[in-house]
Amino acid sequence: MDTLNLLFDGLGSAFTPENLMYAAIGVLIGTFVGVLPGIGPAMALALLLPITYGLEVTQSLIMFAGIYYGGMYGGSTTSILLNTPGESASVMTAIEGNKMAKKGRAAQALATAAIGSFVAGTIGTLLVAFFAPTIAKQAVKIGAPSFFAIMLLSLVLVSAVLGSSRLRGFIGLFVGLTIGLVGLDLSTGQARLTGGITQLVDGVDIVVVAVGLFAIGESLWIAAHLRRNPVEVVPVGRPFMGREDWARSWKPWLRGTAIGFPFGALPAGGAETPTFLSYIAEKKLAKNGDEFGHGAIEGVAGPEAANNASAAGMFVPLLALGIPVTATASILLAAMTTYGIVPGPTLMTDQPDLVWTLLASLLIGNTLLLVINLPLAPLWAKLLQIPRPQLYAGILFFASLGAYAVDQNPFDIALLLVFGAVGFAVRRFGIPILPLILGVIIGPLMEVKMREALDISNGDISGLFNEGLAIGIYVIIVLAVVVPIVIDRVRGDAPLAADAQDGTNDKEEVSR
């Protein structure tokens, strides 16, 4: 097979001891910088890119791939250990990952994240290598109406994570959607809900909201109860994944990859929607769904794989169309241009050697990431043995650093404290955090797509229904809403009873 040979050629030219050393260095500094909360892959790349200049092309590509995957992966480490997601795509990882860490299963959470990232990254890169031009042609046809429909579907599915009390769940969701509304109206330039504060016109960064709600809110909660409640010591868990962990992880890895890759490959797909679609899917599919909210390994494995598969998928529009779809992709594009790679439809035929070296480098960087990080997982996990006061002091420090690093803006630290207070309040009143953070993430994305669709049709409602895919998804939504009700009726159960039953398992722990 021709493509395969080209890939092997690429691997051959990339696979020398010297190159592997550059890859290792790239992975290490990438991970190190990525671990700092608030510094997502985009900023990590921008900061570290200059290091790769001056090397010859193959070496810089390899080091660069290492930095890229290292930066991607670093975010999950802080999410799991410190409950401080470094970027929006790691937010879902924090939800189950941090619960696992508290139960002494940090090493397993880190491992399933690392292996999941590896599996997804490898499958994703191979898909890019073989199908990029084909996928790209189809992907641009999918426009705003379909995206809007997909997000509407995810909002409908959110009901799965509302928790025990629907009312509280919806309160959380709407608080989240409201936070997402803050900022400039896209079409008219009107400032919304900013209270005249200039720093708010660009909206509130999801990282600041998530870190505030999760890390600061929790620190305040712990601080408020530390004296009254006995300190729960984080148990020392086993260092590696057991048989059951593997058995519970491999399917979520593959499902996460399947959900994440198409989103990455679609221009404007992004990594946030697939991570939480994956989370919801895993929760629905899990045999013991009640473990969700208490540290279910599936809830880490799926979203992490989805996140990385989407990151790999991003190379489809980038390489085949020259379209950077995320901030990370724009920096990648700038870097590739300096290495002499000019993306576009003819890239694969015009510059095969460079492209295959790049793809081979991505595979190598991904593999080294696993090799280096897997043994480190138990070491990282020891971090949680630090006594509670010192640990939370550290978390507060990292949270503030992260919020500041997003924009180097002191205002964000004030905002962080506000969301910390909100985080404390929702814990106090038993409002689940998950729907809240979903509202913050999905609200603005949905609005952008809806406005785009309606703008294009000049305000006509038909603009939302003029794509086949969109209509198909609306049909699924209707089925998702109607079918359970019909089934309940046929069975003779009142729908409400079913809801209550469904909810009791979740209890309020989602919010703790």
Binding site: T188, I331, I456
Partner: protein
């Protein structure tokens, strides 16, 4: 960062994210000044994002009298100051030099029925609301101002223009490639590859002359097509208010020296920028004129 009075170090503020247009121009200028040791000190580059450059500009103006700070600005910042309700104007700072200008272009998908700008304008004039036109900037930014001024010039009420705002060149490209919009208005540097491959077609460029890049030499200017409009996006450098005249002249001299290097000439070619260097009074007048033009357009649209 501490920069004492005797230090030769300079902070360059970039008002948007790494990788954007201001970032490219600002960093390129800084790199050349550093490589040539023009200032005798080091540069720090700081991206202050937010509100289309308003945040960065406000912060810089707040450092009045700071003789070790510069900021890269451009047409987008002029519009943002208005659309974000900021009372300050670029001339409130100390204008140093305009570095470049960059014409925009009217882009259509490769399989679009419009072959010339006349085809497009004819259909557009008949039913402005039926055509969706897109750009990579929010209202007040260059890609928004350009179609509005074009509409005005060809006799369309800008209020009837159906403008779809995209978050930068990437999303705009996908919308064009997927034929989701009828035409796109943008600087062309990001689209060179798609234009060469025939995936996108440029109907007209907005400069006074045709563009030198090989893929664009056949594309007529608007004026050649009897549309009396020259629209230029531009970028330049300012210093905080209230710095001494001596220091201002010194900073201008640094930029002048940077401008005269071969490296800068190479950068201009690489990015497809037009050399449009102005300093002192010329630049101040230019800024005032830009300010009037932008506020006029936004006022017509009822956006002020």
């Amino acid at each position: 960062m501490t920069r004492g009075d005797d230090s030769r170090d300079i902070l360059m503020i970039i008002p948007n994210a790494a990788g954007g247009g201001y970032d490219q121009t600002g960093r390129e200028a800084v790199k050349i000044m550093e490589d040539g040791d023009v200032t005798g000190g080091d540069f720090t580059v700081d991206n202050i994002e937010g509100a289309g450059g308003t945040n960065a500009f406000t912060e810089m103006v707040g450092d009045a009298g700071d003789e070790h700070t510069m900021i890269t600005v451009g047409l987008g910042v002029v519009g943002s100051l208005y659309s974000f309700g900021n009372e300050r104007r670029l001339t409130d700072a100390t204008p140093l030099a305009q570095l470049i200008s960059e014409p925009e272009g009217v882009l259509v998908p490769g399989d679009s029925p419009y072959k010339t700008i006349d085809d497009f304008v004819e259909v557009w004039s008949a039913n402005p609301g039926d055509l969706a036109v897109g750009g990579g900037s929010s209202p007040g930014g260059p890609d928004h101002l350009f179609p509005m001024q074009l509409a005005d010039t060809v006799g369309i009420d800008p209020n009837d223009v159906n403008y779809v705002s995209y978050d930068g060149g990437g999303p705009l490209t996908s919308a064009l490639l997927g034929s989701k919009i009828d035409a796109g208005f943008s600087g062309l540097a990001e689209f060179t590859q798609q234009i060469e491959d025939g995936e996108l077609r440029v109907l007209a460029v907005s400069g006074e002359e045709r563009q030198p890049q090989p893929a664009l030499t056949d594309v007529p200017t608007l004026t050649e097509s009897d549309i009396d409009l020259v629209f230029l996006n531009w970028r330049g450098v300012l210093a905080p208010p209230d710095i001494s005249d001596d220091r201002r002249d010194e900073l201008i001299a640094y930029l002048q020296e940077m401008h005269d290097t071969d490296a800068w000439a190479a950068a201009l070619e690489q990015y497809g920028w037009t050399d449009d260097f102005k300093t002192g009074e010329d630049f101040v007048e230019f800024l005032e004129e830009q300010d009037e033009r932008v506020s006029g357009t936004l006022e017509d649209l009822g956006l002020l």
